[in-house]
C-alpha cells in the first residue's frame, strides 16, 4: 500500500524554488531517508506533506486520498474537508526542535491529542502513554516537565507523543540535528527500533551512517529536486551524480 504519494510538488519562497517538481512514493513498511545539502528543500518537502507549508503546485495523496491538489494556475481543488482531516491523521511528525508543550508534563504531552482529538478516555490514554514511555525508555519521567529533561529525552518524548496518535507513517524532520553529539545515539536507537518494528518512516537527516543502516531507500535532494532515489548501497557506493559523490565524501 502506498502511504504517501507526491506528484510534481512545487513550493516557492518568493523567487526561490524550495521544492521544484518532486515525485515521491512511500509504501507501507518502507524507511526512506532524505539527504542532501542544507537549503536543498528536504525539510520543506516533508512539511508540504502535512500542510505545514502550503503547496504552490502539485498533488499530495495520503493512502489514496488527495489532501492537496493545486493546478498550474494556482487553483486549489475543493476536497472533502473531513476526508482530508481523516487522511492527515495518518501522519505523525517529529520535529528538529521537539516542540513539546512546556506547560504540560511528559505524560500530559502524550495524552493531550488522543483525548482531545480522538476523545479517548483518560484512563486508556494514560495506559497507552505509559506503554509508549516504556518503549522509548522514559517510564520514570512521566511527571517531569520538558524543561527538566535532556534534549535526547525530549525528542524521545516527542516520538512517543507522535506515536500516541497511532500514525501510519512517521515524518522525521532532522530529529537529531538540535542535539548534543552524545545524545544523538539514544534518539537514533529509538528510531531504529521503530524501523525494525516495521514502522513506515520518511526521515530527513544528516546522519549518514544512520540513513545507510536503517533505510530501504535513500533520496538525494539538491536545489529542490530529487537527484537520485535508490537503495542505500547504490547512493552511498555508486551514485550516478558527481554532486552526490562530493556530498557523501564530505559527510563521511
Amino acid at each position: 500500500m502506498v502511504i504517501v504519494k507526491l506528484s510534481n510538488v512545487h513550493k516557492y519562497f518568493g523567487d526561490i524554488k524550495a521544492v521544484d517538481g518532486v515525485d515521491l512514493e512511500v509504501k507501507a513498511g518502507e524507511v526512506v531517508s532524505i539527504i542532501g545539502p542544507s537549503g536543498s528543500g528536504k525539510s520543506t518537502l516533508l512539511r508540504c506533506i502535512n500542510q505545514l507549508e502550503s503547496v504552490d503546485y502539485g498533488r499530495v495523496e495520503i493512502e489514496g486520498q488527495a489532501v492537496v491538489e493545486v493546478d498550474s494556475s494556482g487553483k486549489r481543488s475543493h476536497l472533502d474537508k473531513s476526508e482530508v482531516l481523516k487522511a492527515q491523521k495518518k501522519l505523525g511528525m517529529v520535529f528538529q526542535h521537539f516542540n513539546l508543550f512546556p506547560h504540560k508534563t511528559v505524560l500530559e504531552n502524550i495524552i493531550e491529542a488522543p483525548m482531545l482529538v480522538n476523545k479517548e478516555p483518560r484512563k486508556s490514554a494514560v495506559e497507552r502513554a505509559e506503554k509508549l514511555l516504556k518503549q522509548v525508555g522514559l517510564a520514570d519521567k512521566h511527571n517531569a516537565y520538558p524543561s527538566q529533561i535532556s534534549g535526547g529525552q525530549k525528542q524521545r518524548v516527542a516520538i512517543a507523543r507522535t506515536l500516541g496518535m497511532e500514525p501510519d507513517i512517521l515524518l522525521c524532520d532532522e530529529p537529531t540535528s538540535a542535539l548534543d553529539p552524545e545524545l544523538v545515539g539514544e534518539v537514533l536507537a529509538v528510531l531504529r527500533d521503530l524501523a525494525k518494528a516495521n514502522m513506515t518512516m520518511l526521515v530527513v537527516t544528516h546522519e549518514m551512517a544512520f540513513a545507510r543502516e536503517i533505510s530501504n531507500r535513500v533520496i538525494f535532494m539538491d536545489q529542490g529536486k530529487v537527484l537520485e532515489d535508490g537503495s542505500p548501497e547504490k547512493i552511498f557506493k555508486t551514485p550516478e551524480h558527481p554532486r552526490i559523490r562530493d556530498f557523501i565524501s564530505r559527510m563521511i
Binding site: M93, N99, P102, E112, V117, Y145
Partner: protein, 213 residues
C-alpha cells in the same frame, strides 16, 4: 475610637461599590480581551484593523472622558444608562483595550513550533488556542496584567464624577462634614489593602505556574 469605627463603617459601604465595579470589570474585560487578542492575531485583516482603531480610541482618550461619554453623551442618541451600567460598560471597554494588547503580545511571543506540533497532532484551531497557546501566553502576561489589575483598583474612584458613592466619595463626604483627614487615611488604608490582595493573588499565580520553566 468610636469616631474612627463609625466613619470606617461609612467608608466600607463605599468600598462595596468599589468592589462591585472591580469584579464586573475583570469578569467582563478579561474574556473580551482574550477574544479580541485572538481576533487580532488570527482573524481577518479587517478585524485586526478595526480592533486596532478600538484600542487607539480607548487607550488614547482619558478614562474620565469615556465615563462622561457613556453616561451623559449617549443620552443624545436617546440611550440613557444607569450610573452603574455606564461605569461598567466604560471600564470593561477601556480595560479590554489594554488587556487585548497585553494578551496579543503574549500570544505572539509563543514559538511557532508550538502551533506546528499542535497542527501535526491534528488539534483544531480552538483546541490549539485553548489548550496549548493561551495557557502559555497568559502565564507570560501575568506581570503586565498585574499592573492593570492594580491600576483598576484606583481607577474605580473615577465613578464619583457620575454621581456614584464609592469609597473615595464616602471619605470625602466625611471630610466635608467633620473637616478631618482621618477618613482619607482610612480610605488610603483600604486601597492599600485591596491592592495588596491583588498583588498577592498574582504573586501566588506566578509561583504556581513557575513549575514548568
Amino acid at each position: 475610637m468610636d469616631y474612627i469605627l463609625s466613619i470606617t463603617g461609612h467608608i466600607l459601604e463605599g468600598c462595596g461599590l468599589t468592589l462591585q465595579i472591580y469584579f464586573v470589570t475583570i469578569i467582563g474585560a478579561v474574556p473580551l480581551a482574550i477574544l479580541f487578542a485572538l481576533g487580532r492575531t488570527s482573524g481577518p485583516k479587517a478585524l485586526d484593523r478595526a480592533l486596532g482603531i478600538y484600542a487607539w480610541i480607548f487607550r488614547g482618550t482619558p478614562l474620565l472622558l469615556q465615563l462622561f461619554f457613556f453616561y451623559y453623551g449617549l443620552t443624545i442618541f436617546g440611550i440613557s444608562l444607569p450610573p452603574f451600567g455606564a461605569a461598567a460598560l466604560t471600564f470593561i471597554l477601556n480595560y479590554a483595550a489594554y488587556m487585548m494588547e497585553i494578551f496579543r503580545s503574549g500570544i505572539q511571543s509563543i514559538d511557532k513550533g508550538q502551533y506546528e506540533a499542535a497542527h501535526a497532532l491534528n488539534l483544531s484551531y480552538w483546541q490549539t488556542m485553548r489548550r496549548i497557546i493561551l495557557p502559555q501566553a497568559l502565564k507570560r502576561t501575568l506581570p503586565p496584567s498585574a499592573n492593570e489589575a492594580i491600576t483598576l483598583v484606583k481607577d474605580t474612584a473615577l465613578v464619583v464624577v457620575i454621581g456614584m458613592g464609592e469609597m473615595l466619595r464616602s471619605a470625602k463626604e466625611i471630610f466635608t462634614r467633620d473637616f478631618s483627614i482621618t477618613p482619607f487615611v482610612i480610605a488610603a488604608i483600604f486601597y492599600l489593602l485591596l491592592t495588596s490582595v491583588v498583588i498577592n493573588v498574582f504573586r501566588t499565580l506566578e509561583k504556581k505556574l513557575e513549575v514548568y520553566d
